[in-house]
Symmetry: C3
Subunit: 662 residues, 3 copies
């Protein structure tokens, strides 16, 4: 897969007549498309009646594509089971928290834990593997489509039984469960596992442990389904298996991708959320380290459905997205979709061609992206993204904890997105590192909003610190146990000792008029906050609370640890002053840690460093359409034209990109 950069698209040959398909192939060639994804919704075509399975037409499509020099990623179509699977079988359907039983007519309406569904899905995967797995041009598999994008946890009877089994495996005895969850509160105490409810309707809140464990249980189940399907495909095919996921779905991506071969995701961020676009690149590059990720779906213009739509991308933005993705580690950049749906609920979605076969709004953008892809391909294939010096912890598990305990509508994605954006805008090259990822080679690590800090993670972070790294933990980090209860030894458990502090109080700062001061700057403090007192001979106070309910205590401390340091950030400075204070903090510790992969390109212009056998190559790309500039630390050479580029100020036009060898 490393012999080219893929420029792909989703294609639905099953929906159009042969003549249209033929045109599609020619037009794809013109548009520089070299990868097609298909099959993710074709169960009814593959198996129009129960038991009559035939993937023959798809074998032909793959062959045709191959003839035209286009590779294929084939999908299992389990996101849209046919009507015969569910008609008259309510027990196979997804049930939501309110007890509503979903029905045929959209997608994801089946419970993916239903044994009959699993059985049929296995048969299908087997057939697809056997029939298509060895075809030339078949380069990868995608499982299903956007797991858990429309639904969260299922409350059906199958899931109830599995839940009780899962609990028994996890806790052994119901007494252990009662102790772990603290069910004594409110007389929730269970006598048998089969009494433990799913988190359905109650007059007030469910126990936190029950809620969070149900989320973790369901995330495990979907990963198990993926593993099951992948194992079947692998029996027949050497092509790697992936899934088009997202940070927005109700999943633990780290767990899900453990069993898959490479990372892929869908993104429809509009230009106004440009940082959400790069966040994905910086995350998924590190979900399967050392392997290219694929941007499996993105719009050539705008997302849309019967009930919503996004703002169309401005002219030039799509090519900038493509260049940024490739430079940040993408092996493929794919559009959804090639030819606009003529029917169904996504008719309004942007596409490359219109339903009437003409270039759609995205068409010329695709041509621009194609040119860019061709231009940069040799350099990209000869280099790999450089590891960042600054890592930010990413945790889907934390999403589960914060979904259970949102305080006042806290949202992990937006909290982390804001935190990430600041570092991005400061011109620092960065990696989002999954909780389970390695920390070797980093200099500075941020771990914000990780409510439950596992012993494994703590040990790893301290080893990183021991070895000279600076670890900045918080805000909101470490205050919950694995079972989603409070620590009873110290507010933040084992973290406190390592950080050389005693947490005096944990309380919500919003509305209390609290002000924190550090680095000569003052700002309001926000969120549930932990406030500290250094242990004797322990941490230094870096940031002090000067006004509010607990003046004189610290919200920011630093403790030398091995050759590095543990920095505790107990609260979130807010507003413009808070932003300035956080920038000062990041700046201070980036300097302390010796971070050098950093430029003065302001927000809106990316610098993506890669390294090849001999060279370091920077991809510069302007994303905000206002043009940008960056100071080059040393003379460079344009990697495409070969022209010399002097050190110093280097400017880019709107959406312009340049590859510079330094």
């Amino acid at each position: 897969m490393k012999s080219k950069l893929y420029h792909g698209t989703a294609w639905y040959p099953e929906l159009w007549e042969e003549e249209v398909r033929r045109q599609d192939l020619l037009l794809m060639k013109e548009a520089g498309i070299n990868l097609v994804r298909m099959g993710e919704f074709v169960w009814s075509v593959l198996e129009p009646e129960e038991g009559r399975i035939d993937a023959g037409p798809f074998a032909e499509y793959i062959a045709e594509l191959h003839k035209h020099g286009i590779d294929t990623i084939m999908c299992t179509p389990t996101a849209t089971p046919p009507v015969w699977l569910t008609h008259g079988h309510p027990e196979r359907l997804f049930v939501d928290r309110d007890g509503h039983v979903m029905g045929h007519g959209s997608r994801q309406h089946v419970c993916t834990n239903n044994p009959y569904f699993r059985e049929r899905a296995a048969l299908l995967a087997g057939h697809l593997g056997r029939r298509l797995g060895g075809l030339p041009g078949l380069v990868a598999w995608q499982l299903d489509n956007e797991f858990k994008s429309h639904v969260a946890e299922c409350m059906c009877g199958t899931c109830r039984t599995l839940w009780h089994e899962w609990l028994e495996r996890r806790y052994g005895t119901v007494a252990q469960l009662n102790e772990a969850w603290g069910t004594g509160v409110w007389s929730h105490t269970y006598q048998r596992f089969d009494q433990v409810p799913q988190p359905v309707a109650t007059p007030f809140l469910h126990n936190s442990s029950l809620q969070t464990m149900y989320r973790l249980f369901q995330a495990e189940q979907i990963a198990e389904f993926a593993d099951e399907q992948a194992a079947i495909l692998r029996r027949y095919s050497l092509a790697p298996v992936t899934h088009n996921s997202s940070v927005a779905f109700h999943l633990d991506n780290e767990q899900l991708f453990r069993g898959l071969d490479f990372a892929a995701y869908d993104t429809y961020a509009s230009q106004a959320n440009m940082h959400a676009y790069t966040l994905n690149c910086d995350l998924w590059r590190n979900l399967k380290p050392g392997k290219d990720f694929w941007v499996m779906e993105t719009s050539p213009s705008y997302a849309g459905s019967l009930q919503s739509y996004a703002v169309p991308h401005p002219d030039g933005y799509v090519a900038a997205e493509a260049v940024a993705a490739y430079a940040l580690g993408a092996g493929a950049f794919c559009y959804w979709l090639w030819r606009q749906q003529r029917s169904g609920s996504e008719q309004p979605h942007g596409s490359v061609l219109s339903a009437w076969g003409e270039p759609a709004l995205g068409y010329d953008q695709v041509l621009l992206a194609s040119q860019a892809r061709l231009a940069i391909e040799p350099v990209m294939l000869a280099t790999r993204p450089m590891q960042a010096e600054v890592a930010i912890t990413y945790s889907d598990r934390t999403k589960a904890y914060l979904a259970t305990e949102p305080h006042r509508k806290l949202n992990y994605r937006s909290l982390l997105g804001d935190f990430y954006k600041r570092i991005l805008d400061m011109g620092i090259h960065r990696d989002l590192v999954p909780e389970g990822g390695a920390l070797d080679g980093y200099k500075l690590l941020f771990t914000p909003f990780v409510h439950y800090l596992s012993p494994e993670f703590l040990a790893k972070a301290l080893a990183f610190t021991e070895a000279g790294g600076i670890w900045i933990a918080g805000p909101l980090t470490g205050g919950r146990t694995a079972e989603h209860t409070l620590h009873t030894d110290a507010a933040l458990g084992a973290l406190e000792h390592a950080a050389g502090v005693k947490t005096k109080f944990v309380y919500p700062m919003d509305g209390t008029g609290s002000i924190g001061t550090a680095f000569g700057l003052s700002a309001p403090l926000s969120l549930w906050s932990a406030v500290f007192e250094p242990l004797p001979g322990g941490a230094s106070v870096i940031g002090e609370i000067t006004e509010g309910r607990t003046p004189g205590l610290a919200f920011l401390t630093e403790q030398p640890y091995g050759r590095g340091a543990v920095v505790m950030l107990g609260s979130l400075p807010a507003g413009e002053d808070g932003d300035a204070l956080l920038r000062a903090l990041i700046d201070h510790y980036a300097q302390r840690a010796g971070v050098t992969l950093r430029t003065d390109a302001g927000a809106g212009t990316l610098v993506c460093p890669r390294r090849g056998e001999v060279d370091e190559v920077w991809t510069l790309v302007n994303m905000d359409g206002r043009g940008g500039a960056v100071t080059l630390p040393r003379p460079a050479r344009d990697a495409l034209s070969g022209a010399a580029v002097p050190a110093g100020r280097f400017t880019l036009a709107a959406y312009e990109y340049r590859l510079l060898q330094l």
Copy 2:
């Protein structure tokens, strides 16, 4: 029915003792009431036990009213089935989209498709027809009450069966349905009609065709029920049959009224929505052309219920409403209600008399309206409203399409209301013409927001154009097929060719910074928009896109067609600048089309032209309470006083009305 103007009221004699009823009759006489509507909620009185039906008391009420010179419109009481019809019979109840089964205790809780309900309703209608149909004073029938005002589509088992039958009738084979709906998308493909779900709970959106067809199916069913009931009444009675409908209900009024004898509606617009009040007059006048419509319910002061209320009408407004209605084609102007309810959920609703028998806030307004009615009656009876030169297409079918596909919460009523209001405020006399209505005699036709343009309509509009009319189509017009899918030949199908344009792109303009320029004015463009390129030798570009994603293309074009022209408006100019641009457009084409029924009366003052055997009579009425003025094009005569009125500026005091012969 043409011998008088009705000034009527809803009356509930069944709720009050004889002495109160006697007073009511005397007070009605004093208030100039000459029409009473009754019976719409009396099923329990008519048939207190299943099978024991007796309309005797109502025969007496009709006789008593007749003795007092008051005519009666009698209702079938099917909106409120008695408890014996539903107690223990959940299968007869209405089921909403969330699966909630409605129950006794309000109204409209029964599925009007339930066969047992239909059977009992037929028996009732037969009894009422036989017993009351020939009584002197019985001048009309009203079916039910406000069909589908509280409920939309029913999801009960009866409806499911009827739905499958309806689909079979419409599509013949399930293969045709699959093709028409494009069910290949998301593997929705059906094997049998009985598998097609009602649009109930799914994780994401239903197929557009399924949703829209379910709406059309349900609209047909309620029209069928009305036809069934009307047919029974007509067996026994010559009195015409109507229904008190509204543009707000979940109905296709054009279809519903096809089987009824004259148009009637309820309206509770407050003065702040004055244009919604006149919109009704301008629409319903054309729903049964040549026949007076009835304002069946309006408040003498304010609407209200346990949970809401409107602002009371200011002093003088009600009489102005009455005059405007009569002048615009009403044969009756009726209040809801005569005597305030002493119980139930509408106790707070405004009325003529209070529950304690005293004049309520509306009483003196009713006296003013009565005086006005008496004064203008001879002139109104001797004239008919003049057909407008400007027509605006009205389509309840479009409401169904836009309910399925609201993009970003588009609402047909408010979109069309805004469009209508501009023309009203420009002093142009106008007709809202139902999709199926004739276009003969018009000069200028606007057809905005009609997502699906039927071949019949297109042919009619082109014939109108051929004959010299100017047809302005759009925005949002023509982009969907009958099946609620996209055209695959051209974005707007057959319309494009007639309009001499090629639609280059269709996309959402909001947020793209698009600016359109026409008639020397520029404005932001909004909504899903179609942008055009003239066909070779085709349309002229009238409005060009100057900024945004597709500069240089057209949003407004004009194509000569026969002796007239087809004007395409692909986008909606927005904001204050957009309003100015649209006014310029209307102005331009009104002049081009030779529109003369137009005055300089500003917003707030109506000019309603009527014509008799010899004369043209203008009714002028000030509706905003600020007084108004209009320039008379020629000398006139006051039709009531006989006084001469010179040409030129003519002023009206607050809420004043004048009838001028020109």
Copy 3:
């Protein structure tokens, strides 16, 4: 119970090991805790398996506490039934208006009318009474916990049957019910009691009488359950019985506490709602007249749950709350909770100790409150709160009527709270007197927002007036019958005659531009309003409507009645001008009535007058943290230091309190 002031806390010994409990006792001593509440959620501990009941551990806890000088209030634990009570028994569960059946996992999920629940609850109460009722240190009982805080009316099958029985008891025959409710409207007429629905899903609104009667029925049922439980406890124990209630719950507190021995409530108002804190004191003091009330739960810092939190109290506020409560009649001031929950959904709730055993944010506040309690105890024990001269009617029954008929989201609590706040801020000592409370000794009575005015109340208020009191009735008062219908004799029924007025109109004033003028001030009028004309020789017009729909009529009238007067306030003056007008009204009538218990302490500083054998003692306490001042009418003596205090201006520091003998 009169030998001390209680300073208490909720304690959950069943959740912690022995060592922690031992520490708790020592720390409680240090913190000046002399009362512990426990047991309200311990059903699973008391009866881990059905039928195996043992309160032994709680006997030991009570004994241990007693040894440490701490008294106990023991709870019945019926708010949280164990899983064995409901597992497999959906018929025992609470059903909400939407038909959702609640489940185990939170609290209040059982229908408290379920006969099996009642049977098990009775067994428990019997066991607790026998086992603990005679123990030294057991000073009171609390029933359940916060009845109906999370749920409102239950719609289960048991409730349906009880509803039908209740209706039969109330109405005797179904014909009487039909007449009383006016079911003729909309053909709701019932043939048998068992046909009357519970107020569940309908397309539009239920009949007002049905809705309100269902609310009253349910309020009766929960009071009946409380009486049943209290009777059992009293068989074995002399300790008085109470409940921790609130004005926020779905209850009729007056009815509930009729059968209980003293009043108690929970409050979590933040400082920004200081008036909500004192409103409780001024109300509950009068719910069981002559007896101390208990503040059973309040936070030492902030309330919180997984999904919400309040702003922490500022430093010093809690002690001020304690002093205010004691001075206004509290016998106990108790915290929720002692030791932060380590698990469950209230982990984030503020506490005295943290889950890890350290002082929490509230700890030092508790110490301050303890000091204050000790200082003021002798004076408080030697005095009783003085009856106010000004009474404001409080009616939970009215809440039921306004819940049925909220017009535009009217909320009794906030309406009454605003009304109360004005009187509070004007420095007038006041009592909130329940509808059924005695009016002897008052000079001025306000009865606003009481939609249904019972004959009993009217007679009592007129007797009060007869004897010289001034009664100000309205706004919104008197317009509904007991059955929640309209009067048919006069808008406000019998009240009108007594008030010497005729109500001309009742209508919503909002949006009509209505202005009222009285006391030389003008203000906009709001709400559904009654507007008056004096009866011949009847009332004087005090406030006239000068603009709007009914100029010239009165919104404020005064009628001499016996030695007093009936003042009708038909509308609510709104905005800043309305506030000024209402202040003028209060001022005027307070002077007329000879109100003297009034100071010039502005908003934020309380003056709480008490009287002992010989002295009058004022407790002054600053609540807003800005300090305050009050003019002393005569020289006083500091009741704690004995120092002389001159007449005239007396100032208080932030949160300072002083006890002055006058």
